[in-house]
């Protein structure tokens, strides 16, 4: 609940109204290609959940990346990350983060990607 935008913020206000003004997710880990999967059906959602929260839960029954959730919800990434943070805080989603960046990509993984591309 740290940062509230004032009325000079212009068009940012509308999407961020969904996040009640919050511009940062409650935690990190929602990279563009982090995979989100619904861990509990929407009937478990708490009373404060908004229609966007519910829509994400319904969408991610089939796991999707953060970028796909943003595109399908037609909401900016920043907004989607706040909503995903809410869902994660309530244990309603599971997240599979990509491999960490602080080392070279895994050779076995690259070879799998290569084989997969060749087989297309």
């Amino acid at each position: 609940m740290s940062e509230w935008l004032d009325d000079e913020a212009g068009p940012v206000v509308r999407p961020y109204a969904l996040t009640r003004g919050r511009t940062r997710a409650s935690r990190e880990g929602f990279e563009l290609i982090a995979i989100i999967a619904t861990a509990a059906t929407s009937q478990f959602a708490p009373a404060g959940a908004g229609p966007e929260h519910i829509a994400i839960l319904e969408m991610c029954v089939r796991p999707l990346s953060v970028a796909e959730v943003s595109a399908k919800m037609r909401l900016p990434l920043g907004v989607v990350r706040v909503l995903l943070g809410d869902l994660l805080d309530h244990g309603l989603i599971a997240v599979r983060r990509p491999e960490p960046d602080n080392r070279l990509p895994n050779e076995r993984l690259l070879k799998e990607v290569l084989n997969g591309l060749q087989a297309l």
Partner: protein, 204 residues
């Protein structure tokens, strides 16, 4: 235990995702390439950035805010059960470097598309990936009617390291786009092997 709850973190339900970037100047065919090889119609995600700036000439000290929206087109290729490749077209304009940093983080590598009529448009992308030590290749998109050059002439014009592959392609064609991606991943494997031979250079 509530039977209605499922645990998608188990099994193949939650794939691991990797990404490759497709960069290059405006209109060079980034979105065409993403669309040609993607198994889904390309999607678009947006990020909004609010700049706060205080004009230096403005004695009143009033803060001005401008909102910039950066759009990125992306596609997806399922490599196998449990492994998905995302292809992200980079935002074309140089002032969106903040978004490039997020895109480049954890990327396997990048394809820089070049148009021989406007080779200089690919310089910012090449500079960026060189600085970040992210492996990349050059895909020369052969537009209809464009003057064809030898890949070695293009390499010289771009002042590239001789190890960086330069290939001709037609990114509207799936098979050609696929070949570009294969060339990139082979190059990434070579770069990795070379870096592992050089002690102290393992981290990029």
């Amino acid at each position: 235990m509530d039977s209605k709850r499922s645990d998608p973190s188990r099994g193949a339900a939650m794939p691991l995702a990797v990404k490759i970037l497709v960069a290059g100047g405006f209109g060079v065919g980034k979105t065409s390439m993403v669309g040609a090889v993607s198994e889904i119609r390309p999607l678009r995600t947006e990020e909004q950035l609010t700049d706060r700036s205080v004009g230096v000439d403005d004695v009143s000290g009033v803060e001005r805010k401008t909102t910039t929206t950066v759009a990125m087109d992306f596609g997806r290729i399922t490599i196998r059960d449990g492994l998905v490749l995302y292809l992200f077209g980079t935002p074309g304009q140089d002032r969106f470097w903040f978004m490039w940093d997020e895109l480049a983080l954890g990327a396997l590598g990048a394809v820089v598309l070049a148009d021989t009529r406007r080779l200089a448009d690919s310089f910012p992308s090449i500079d960026y990936f060189e600085r970040r030590r992210l492996p990349f290749i050059i895909g020369v998109n052969c537009f209809d009617g464009a003057v064809r050059y030898d890949t070695e002439e293009i390499r010289a014009a771009l002042d590239l390291d001789p190890k960086i592959p330069v290939i001709l392609c037609d990114v509207r064609k799936r098979e050609s786009g696929k070949q570009v991606l294969i060339t990139l991943v082979e190059h990434v494997l070579e770069v990795m092997a070379e870096r592992q031979r050089q002690p102290g250079a393992a981290l990029r």
